[in-house]
């Protein structure tokens, strides 16, 4: 039935050293984490030119979870379920909510944190949430005979259109989540990125304030096929504002957000843009409510 279909070679390195040598010997092989994204592409199988595969599943370094008093460090092959098992006390709230919204348990048992950050043409909610939490990502460049590493913030992993900025032979090895908490955080999500990517929108927003004056304000929108949006001008404008925001102020910021999305030149559907504006308003109203309750 499938004549001429090549059976790709599978390489299963057992250590980072093995991985380095597999990458240099098979430069066109793809990294395989949970495989949920790779296998859900419409052209996955059968196809004539499947690349060889490097399975990351048996490298203990990539499955490690370390906790210090300042941060949690997770290997890229830790699954979403394993991450959730760490528990609410340790994970920041918006991250817990983001992970719980990622598919169902059957998917979360298989999908990994590294794979979720590297889904080629789909930008998932987890990228935005990790970006506003200022999570750091360790990138390893596997160019034999050496491998170099560097740490970057999640926001640097994508350009504005949402495209991954990783070079060939670069991979994510660890994710570091700090324990600093902001005073307010929210995660809002609509639509499933796999079933209706042109409708789905996710917002993660965090804020800190001191005597009702905003000292820190960060937010990120992810839209599966419509990019990764952090708008620093709006963040800067919000900082220094006295809470609560007035209804006019909220309407002005939401309007600015709409214009910023238009100016980003990324294809965003009308529904996504409308949802983004509404989510932003909801987040600001909830921030108002929390700040008033605490007075």
């Amino acid at each position: 039935m499938y004549e001429g279909i090549r059976s790709p070679a599978i390489h299963v390195p057992k250590s980072m050293t093995d991985l380095l040598s597999a990458t240099s010997r098979f430069p066109n092989a793809i990294y395989w984490a949970g495989g949920t994204y790779i296998m859900s592409r419409h052209d996955y199988y059968p196809t004539k030119d499947s690349n060889d595969i490097i399975s990351l599943n048996e490298i203990p370094d990539l499955k490690r979870i370390n906790r210090t008093d300042r941060y949690l460090e997770i290997g890229s092959m830790v699954t979403i379920s394993q991450l959730l098992q760490i528990g609410k006390q340790v994970l920041p709230d918006p991250l817990t909510q983001t992970l719980q919204a990622l598919g169902t348990r059957i998917i979360r048992n298989q999908a990994t944190i590294g794979g979720s950050l590297c889904t080629g043409d789909l930008r998932l909610a987890i990228s935005g949430t990790l970006a506003v939490l200022r999570t750091e990502i360790e990138i390893k460049k596997l160019d034999a005979p050496r491998s170099d590493s560097r740490w970057i913030t999640t926001g640097k992993l994508y350009d504005r259109s949402g495209a991954l900025t990783l070079d060939k032979h670069e991979m994510i090895t660890r994710v570091r989540i700090g324990f600093d908490r902001e005073d307010f955080s929210i995660f809002l999500s609509a639509g499933n990125p796999m079933y209706n990517p042109q409708e789905s929108v996710n917002l993660a927003l965090v804020c800190s304030y001191n005597q009702s004056v905003i000292t820190n304000f960060r937010f990120c929108f992810t839209m599966p096929t419509g990019g990764f949006h952090q708008f620093q001008d709006i963040e800067v404008l919000a900082r220094g504002t006295m809470l609560p925001f007035s209804p006019n102020h909220i309407a002005r910021l939401a309007k600015m957000l709409g214009e910023a999305i238009d100016n980003s030149h990324v294809t965003v559907s009308l529904l996504q843009k409308e949802r983004a504006k509404r989510f932003f308003e909801v987040a600001l109203h909830q921030l108002n409510t929390q700040s008033l309750i605490e007075r």
């Binding site: 039935m1 499938y2 279909i5 090549r6 059976s7 790709p8 070679a9 599978i10 495989g35 949920t36 296998m39 859900s40 592409r41 419409h42 996955y44 199988y45 059968p46 499947s50 595969i53 399975s55 379920s81 959730l84 098992q85 760490i86 528990g87 609410k88 994970l91 817990t96 992970l99 719980q100 598919g103 169902t104 348990r105 059957i106 998917i107 979360r108 048992n109 298989q110 796999m194 079933y195």
Partner: protein, 170 residues
């Protein structure tokens, strides 16, 4: 690629492409298999099987992950005693999934029933199985033949049977 694994209790030697999805293997390479789910991109949720006792979408499992694995399809599962808990729950609720999604929905229910004991042992952010969570989990199978209230009724009833079974065993 040659792979030895166990499918519904039978040891099998497969010769398949290394990246072939398990659902296609079950339909094309395993003799006497009644498995029938040709979705191949995770979008319909009609191909759930148990892989080493954990529910998976078989269209998202490549052949190379099957080495020495134990696969249980619905055909094999319905020969186990666990099936009766769900079968009786369908009777109690007087609602059954349609023939197209019956196997997958049943195996999703089974995977949820297996987490009940674990939930009581360990407090994890992914173990909270309230009604909303049960309905969401079943939503992986996109067939809309059961209403949310029917799903909840079936699950609660099956969970009662399962708890009683555990108490008897202990």
């Amino acid at each position: 690629m040659k792979i030895e694994c166990t499918i519904d209790g039978k040891r099998i030697l497969l010769t398949v492409n290394s990246n072939k999805p398990l659902n296609s293997i079950l339909m094309e390479d395993v003799e006497q298999s009644n498995f029938n789910a040709k979705c191949s991109d995770g979008n319909c949720g009609n191909c759930v099987v148990l892989l080493n006792d954990t529910a998976v979408l078989s269209c998202l499992i490549p052949a190379f992950r099957l080495r020495n694995a134990h696969v249980l399809t619905f055909e094999g599962y319905r020969r186990t005693r666990f099936w009766h808990d769900i079968e009786r729950a369908y009777e109690d609720a007087k609602s059954h999934p349609c023939p197209l999604c019956h196997a997958s929905k049943t195996l999703i229910f089974e995977s949820l029933l297996r987490t009940i004991g674990k939930t009581e042992e360990k407090e994890s952010t992914d173990s909270n199985l309230d009604d909303e969570a049960v309905v969401k989990e079943l939503g992986l199978n996109r067939c809309m033949c059961l209403e949310a209230n029917e799903i909840i009724e079936i699950f609660n009833s099956a969970a009662n049977y399962r708890r009683r079974r555990r108490v008897r065993r202990n």
